[in-house]
Symmetry: C2
Subunit: 325 residues, 2 copies
């Protein structure tokens, strides 16, 4: 089977609005440190008006992974919904400039392009307040044989289940993938998102997904396990490939009873942990679609994540894996 592109991402298309804040700011707006909270347009206006000067750049978890994947040299496509406004132009430009094939036109009416207020505390942790805007209008009808095509893999994010048509369109995309010999990957997004959609995710993991990308908290939330060893034991019962990131404890790849533990690379200072998991997924999937060993995939993922936490912003720079060539 010839695949049109290597990776197709389906996710919430978001522009990040990044600012440094102190922890008192999080208290003031009632945001748990490290969380991602969905907010409405009114709340978005309120938080933005309280924030200091910000930097804008394209974001979105799986969108970051797709951009990173393209930057590594992979061929990629993307399905997500932006509005035909200035932030939507920015989002699509940044994708297209990397060669990513944007499969949907911008919406000509409805809510503005989504933005996520990313509040970076001095410890480098990110707390996100996300206004989904146009993302909520991504619809079942947007997922078709023609928009999905036959990539080598599709990658969905858990946040897609937060939008009205999300569960249905994820299932539809997985069905199209199955009929095309396309692998289905799912990034679990965050542990609160897993709590919101645990049953749906467990169903999707068991029946639709081939690859699951998650961090330790997310996998524990999914499996209702309380520590990582218990999660690992539970995963022995799955056929799917799991890649689980554990911050400074490295990552674990679990597949059909096989376990690969990959150490983290120590860094002097974490500037901004935004996008560490997304970058890991980019490197890991780049290895996977290029038929590298799981150990090499973990090495690529770790390298990308290590680089991204030492810069401001979630997207990795071009040619990052050149030193592995």
């Amino acid at each position: 089977m010839t695949h049109s592109v290597q990776l197709l991402g389906i996710s919430n298309a978001i522009v990040d609005v990044l600012a440094h804040v102190d922890t008192a700011f999080l208290d003031r707006i009632g945001a748990p440190p490290g969380s991602m909270t969905l907010i409405d347009e009114e709340q978005a206006r309120s938080i933005y008006s309280q924030m200091g000067p910000a930097t804008e750049m394209s974001g979105g978890s799986v969108a970051n992974t797709v951009a990173g994947f393209a930057n590594l040299g992979g061929s990629a496509a993307y399905i997500g919904k932006v509005r035909n406004d200035q932030l939507g132009d920015i989002f699509n430009h940044d994708m297209q400039s990397l060669g990513v094939d944007i499969r949907l036109p911008p919406a000509t009416d409805g809510a503005p392009t989504a933005r996520s207020h990313i509040l970076i505390t001095p410890d480098g942790q990110r707390t996100m307040q996300t206004y989904l805007g146009a993302c909520t209008e991504l619809a079942l009808a947007d997922i078709t044989d023609s928009t999905v095509g036959n990539p080598k893999a599709i990658l969905l994010e858990g946040y897609v289940w937060d939008i009205a048509d999300g569960p249905a369109l994820a299932k539809k995309a997985a069905g199209i993938a199955r009929s095309n010999g396309t692998a289905v990957a799912l990034s679990l997004s965050d542990s609160f998102c897993v709590e919101r959609h645990r049953d749906a995710f467990n169903d999707f993991v068991s029946n639709d997904a081939d690859i699951i990308l998650a961090d330790e908290d997310e996998i524990n939330a999914l499996l209702r396990t309380s520590d990582f060893d218990a999660a690992l034991d539970a995963l022995d019962n799955y056929d799917q490939l799991f890649a689980i990131t554990r911050s400074e404890k490295g990552s674990a790849i679990v597949h059909g009873g096989e376990r690969i533990m990959h150490a983290a690379t120590p860094v002097e200072k974490i500037l901004d942990s935004t996008g560490a998991g997304d970058a890991y997924a980019a490197g890991f999937l780049y290895g996977w679609v290029n038929d590298r060993s799981l150990s090499a995939c973990a090495q690529y993922g770790t390298y990308c994540a290590t680089m991204v936490i030492q810069q401001l912003g979630a997207r990795i720079e071009k040619g990052l894996l050149d030193s592995f060539a």
Copy 2:
């Protein structure tokens, strides 16, 4: 005389679109390295479509200085024209979040908010392709006793002379300033800008300005001198205060025959020279409005410039001068 604020900036309100490029990119679009070229909407679209992924943040030369000045703890106001679009919202938010009093409402029709495509080459140099958009609609009628008020100083930039009403509104602002006991500062923007408007600048410097901020190339362009020593000699004939930056050679303050030479602070790596002069101006003017010695003003300016060239982006962070307190 009680001044309502310490500093009022009048300038082109611009959102920066920053991207790393190689020098071949500059050749391809025919941009001289280090230059600022004015482009129209069509050219802006073309350059943007050729650029890689970018980061957006509020910019504009004197706007950067005003933001930096506010970040240092100064009270500031701003006159510039944005459109009521998403980039205009970003520009005004970033100013207002620093406490800067925005004196004009966004335009409700006409061209979109200005953007400057800032192309950063591996040597850290910036090359700017600027679409002025809404800036061109800043009008003589926007400069009134009420919008100018009676700040301790106003700061104009040379780029204002690039817009239709620019020369007239600069003169009008200077007239209002004079009647209020407000000092008039002028930043010369860039040497190409000085070439475009040399006669007007020489007139303004001699008849309206009290403080002139410039780099070595700009002062040579203004005075038609071919080296810095010749420029220094020529400046002995002026009563105005000149603060002249010279990159790694430091800065020179010239005032009524007095000369203060201030050394640069060596840095390991220049990440992005964007905004070095703007940051110097912020520190220098912060010292000046607070009645510090010219030597202390130079020290503040140097410190701000040194910090800004070691980060991506033109605006300095909050509390930068705290270590001088």
